[in-house]
């Protein structure tokens, strides 16, 4: 485990790893070596980094099909992730998951789902198990704004609040569900207020203020370990890339480049990086490039699973 001189350096390292890994995935993608749809979280990485920085190995995090950031921030192995994207036997699910179902149970990465919202109650179930097992671990469930429209979102928060379960719900509100903007889906842009009516602390972050999110979540999770019950945060953010695939798509007309430029001007990867000691930043960047290069080589050199492995793991 690398030691960093400051919280900022640690968060930067987490963000930069995801940013650079996804940029490399985007570069490789046209070669068709990656055998999986990819949903890139470029621009949104800071949220998972800020929140997961407070988690221990025995805590759980659940993400979505846009889950590379959650997987890596929680300690998921980069080699296993890259190999999984390549469909290789050395992948985190031996080529059965692709990018959309990343998992690393040993690191507390709950398996991710490609059906929007589906992972939310599963994360709550992990929190129920923690309570029943008398552990003081916690769960963080990451989700997008679209998932809050699913019935199981409200059902899950109600149940978690009722049983005072140790779970933090984190909505990464990029104001898009695939290509549909928020105003075509919500009657009122008051998600945080709605959630507060379940009787749990609910906080909104309109800006990509990674340190403010980090500080807030630190307090929330400390309280949660001493039976404070669930909490909720909503982080407004921006998806730089298309819903699925390796490209930007501002030219498609469903959203404006102006909006994108406003967010890009506040890119946490850049601003946080600029705040670091130059030498430390250079070392972090160098280590990340080396690890990504190694992961790509690992994935390319790994074998595909043999056809007869098709029938493995149908039943436990």
């Amino acid at each position: 485990m690398t030691e960093y001189s400051t919280v900022e350096a640690r968060l930067y390292a987490s963000i930069a790893l995801v940013r650079r890994a996804e940029e490399v995935i985007s570069e490789i993608y046209p070669s068709d070596k990656i055998k999986s749809p990819v949903h890139l979280a470029i621009g949104q990485e800071y949220i998972a980094a800020a929140v997961i920085d407070h988690l221990r190995g025995s805590d759980y995090a659940s993400g979505t099909y846009r889950g590379h950031g959650v997987y890596l921030a929680k300690g998921g192995d980069l080699n296993s992730m890259m190999a999984e994207l390549y469909g290789k036997k050395t992948g985190c699910a031996q080529g059965r998951a692709g990018s959309m179902h990343l998992v690393e149970a040993g690191k507390g990465v709950i398996g991710m789902s490609a059906v929007v919202g589906t992972g939310i109650p599963v994360a709550v179930g992990h929190a129920l198990a923690i309570k029943q097992q008398r552990r003081n671990d916690v769960v963080v469930a990451f989700m997008g704004d679209g998932s809050t429209e699913e019935g199981c979102f409200s059902e899950s928060i109600n149940f978690a609040a009722l049983h005072k379960l140790p779970i933090l719900f984190v909505v990464e509100n990029n104001r898009l569900a695939i290509h549909e903007p928020l105003h075509k889906r919500w009657a009122a842009d008051t998600l945080t207020e709605r959630v507060a009516t379940y009787g749990i602390p609910a906080t909104r972050f309109l800006e990509p203020d990674v340190l403010a999110i980090h500080e807030h979540v630190g307090k929330v999770i400390d309280d949660m370990r001493t039976e404070a019950g669930p909490a909720f945060i909503e982080c407004h953010t921006h998806r730089w890339y298309e819903h699925v695939g390796p490209c930007e798509d501002y030219d498609q007309g469903y959203r404006s480049l102006e909006e994108g430029e406003q967010w890009r001007a506040k890119d946490v990867y850049v601003t946080l990086g600029q705040s670091l000691d130059e030498k430390e930043k250079a070392q972090i960047d160098q280590d990340i490039e080396a690890s990504i290069q190694a992961a790509v080589e690992f994935a390319e050199q790994s074998p595909f699973p043999a056809a007869e492995e098709l029938y493995n793991y149908v039943y436990a």
């Binding site: 759980y60 992948g91 985190c92 699910a93 031996q94 080529g95 059965r96 998951a97 179902h101 998992v103 690393e104 149970a105 040993g106 709950i110 398996g111 789902s113 059906v115 589906t118 939310i120 109650p121 599963v122 994360a123 709550v124 179930g125 992990h126 929190a127 129920l128 198990a129 923690i130 029943q132 097992q133 019935g151 199981c152 059902e155 899950s156 109600n158 149940f159 009722l162 493995n312 793991y313 149908v314 039943y315 436990a316």
Partner: protein, 354 residues
């Protein structure tokens, strides 16, 4: 199998409760959740008293949120617990379909064997007294269709307990399909814990003239029909598959090879259903030398009505099963059993072969 002197006659719902109780005694990670399981009725007695014994942390009701509650049970199972999620009617499982099909059944595979979902779903088919369209469905084929799910259908109290205990031990999602009309039936049930093996059919009655495969309470109705047939000199072999998935096809295959005639009586519609699966496997089998004569019975291809005059025509019953089996076995249409004999089956308690 236990020694007979520790058995006593026990009702199906008591056997369900005892199986869960003994599973919870044996393993502190087992817990039970479901709407109304802790109320004064206790799911027609099948969960009664459990909250008093194990407390509200291990036995608790849920909000009316079947979708999320199924996900919660799955998540708890992934994290090392062994939930039993109870639904008082199978129709309500439609609200759980996404979690059961997309997560529970697939997780072990989709996550490369690194995750297990030892989840038990208890659910009950209703029938009669106006249960109607949304309280009567036998939807086992939908679940058995999906790799990763196991589906079992106890037809008697002995299996109700033994399958419950086996389901809790299994490391996969297991759906236990119960039947309301079987709740009051009695069988000899050992007092001590035991399990009933999955993937092992039971030959309840041997015969050479035709094979009848019954599902859930249709086992009981087929047994009554077999008694009526015996009075006509026709010996039916009655098979209870016990587990829908995995299916013990070998036992069915051996019987059909012997009798050359097969009647499948499902507790469900026929279209794309479990009865079609059995017949298809018989047709594909390379071990059945002669092409058997085959018939299927099940729900009428309609929605289930509430009024008795229509509902009577919706379900197979001992009379229609006997008539169909008689024609299949003898090739003749010269016998119809008397109504009073056929009605006995609903009232006569099935005590099972144990």
């Amino acid at each position: 199998m236990s020694t007979p002197n520790t058995s006593r006659l026990l009702k199906y719902f008591d056997a369900l409760r005892e199986g869960a109780e003994q599973a919870m005694d044996a393993d502190s990670s087992v817990f039970m959740m479901g709407l109304d399981i802790d109320d004064h009725k206790g799911i027609q007695g099948s969960t009664k008293g459990l909250v008093d014994k194990f407390g509200p942390e291990r036995v608790f009701t849920t909000p009316l949120s079947e979708d999320a509650m199924t996900g919660v049970a799955i998540g708890a199972a992934m994290a090392g617990q062994r939930p039993i999620h109870v639904h008082i009617r199978m129709d309500f499982l439609m609200l759980c379909m996404n979690q059961l099909v997309n997560i529970a059944a697939k997780s072990h595979y989709m996550y490369g064997g690194t995750v297990q979902v030892p989840l038990v779903i208890r659910t009950m088919i209703g029938k009669s007294w106006g249960q109607g369209a949304q309280h009567s469905q036998g939807l086992h084929s939908m679940f058995a269709h999906v790799p990763g799910m196991k589906v079992v259908a106890p037809s008697n109290a002995y299996d109700a307990k033994g399958l419950t205990m086996q389901a809790v031990r299994d490391n996969n999602p297991v759906l236990i399909m119960e039947h309301r009309l079987l709740y009051g039936t009695e069988a000899y049930v050992p007092e001590e814990p035991y399990t009933v093996e999955f993937g092992k059919a039971r030959v309840l009655r041997e015969g050479n003239d035709l094979t009848i495969v019954g599902v859930s309470n249709m086992v009981m109705e087929a047994m009554r029909a077999a008694e009526l047939l015996a009075e006509q000199g026709i010996e039916a072999e009655v098979i209870d598959p016990v587990t829908i998935s995995p299916l013990d096809f070998d036992t069915i295959e051996a019987s059909v090879n012997k009798t050359g005639k097969l009647l499948v009586v499902d507790n469900a519609w026929l279209n794309c259903g479990f009865s079609a699966e059995i017949v298809a496997r018989v047709a594909e089998s390379e071990n059945i030398s002669l092409k058997p004569a085959v018939k299927r019975m099940g729900f009428a291809p309609t929605t289930c009505p509430t009024t008795p005059s229509l509902e009577d025509a919706f379900y197979p019953n001992p009379k229609t099963i006997a008539i169909t089996a008689y024609q299949l076995a003898s090739g003749k249409q010269d016998w119809v059993p008397a109504d009073d004999q056929c009605q006995l089956a609903y009232q006569t308690q099935f005590k099972g072969p144990f």
